[in-house]
Amino acid sequence: MASEQTHSGNPRVDIEYRKKKSAEEMRYQIVSFSMMIFLTLVAFIAVGYGDFSAWFIVPFILLLAVVQVVFQLYYFMHMSHKGHEAPALFLYSGLLVGLITILAFMTIIWW
């Protein structure tokens, strides 16, 4: 996007600025990745070693999955950047239809 470009008139200065911005973004990506690994570990340990009832553990690991996917979508897939209004609309519309499908299959159709 033209608006995201920097125009100091000096390409050398611009590239320094952009490299810095990219490196900064990469740091956020590493933090996201560490969080994702951590959430995965918590979920596996809770199921593998934890002594919890299914009523607690199922909502808990589902919540961990949702948080991890938010990291993936907003950082790894750049949905936190500008110009992602249409992608958000498409994705959330798909998710809405999908959740209704899951609800329907689990309650009305099969039981």
Partner: protein, 209 residues
């Protein structure tokens, strides 16, 4: 800016994937496709949840008999790490470093391939040790359709990335192929998004019972 323009690291735009009309269209169209994929996978998840452990008699293995956490954990780490390596590839793409981008894409492909091999081993194990097959029960059909569809996506993603790497090996980076690499990396992340729900809903919830 035009598709055929030659660039240097200094003149390379900040968002190369959206500089051309074709790039903008690819970006928009691909996210529409991902919205559709969400519906597709949600319906497979719905079917799996409805048919989980629905077997004709007590001789058939149930989810808690089949699944083993270590192998699923290794598979998860492989795919999660491959998601990070493809982030690195796009980082180098934005910095106009074609060689490093290719290197990180290559690592992504290796990790994805290892994941696929592990899944093949896993399915083979279920079929031969537990006689849990596609046609053995409603549970079997739903399981292999959901997890297999994801595995199919991994296989397609690998072919896609390898094709892009080979076809553009001598071209270097330009505004013609930058959107292609960007969209392929989005697809790869989406595969990981689906896997997060598979390991949670299928494997971990399967172990819980």
């Amino acid at each position: 800016m035009h598709v055929e323009d030659k660039f240097t690291a200094e003149t390379w735009p900040a968002a190369p994937e959206k500089q051309t009309l074709e790039g903008k269209n690819k970006f928009l169209g691909f996210w529409l496709f991902l919205g559709g994929e969400t519906v597709l996978f949600a319906s497979l998840f719905a079917t799996y949840l409805a048919l989980k452990d629905k077997v004709p008699n007590a001789e058939h293995a149930l989810a808690k008999d089949l699944f083993e956490l270590p192998i699923v954990f290794v598979a998860t780490m492989l795919l999660l790490t491959s998601s990070l390596t493809s982030v690195y590839a796009m980082y180098h793409m934005k910095n106009f470093n074609f060689k490093k981008m290719q290197l990180w894409l290559g690592l992504t492909v290796l990790l994805g391939f290892a994941f696929l091999l592990l899944e093949i081993y896993e399915f083979n194990h279920y079929v031969h040790e537990y006689h849990h097959t596609f046609t053995s029960s409603a549970f079997g059909s739903a399981f292999y359709t959901l997890v297999g569809f994801h595995g199919g996506h991994v296989a397609f993603g690998l072919l896609w990335i390898v094709t892009l790497m080979v076809r553009n090996a001598k071209r270097g980076l330009d505004l013609y192929n930058a959107p292609k690499f960007y969209v392929a990396s989005l697809y790869w992340h989406f595969i990981d998004v689906v896997w997060v729900f598979i390991f949670t809903v299928v494997y971990l919830m399967g172990m819980v019972g």
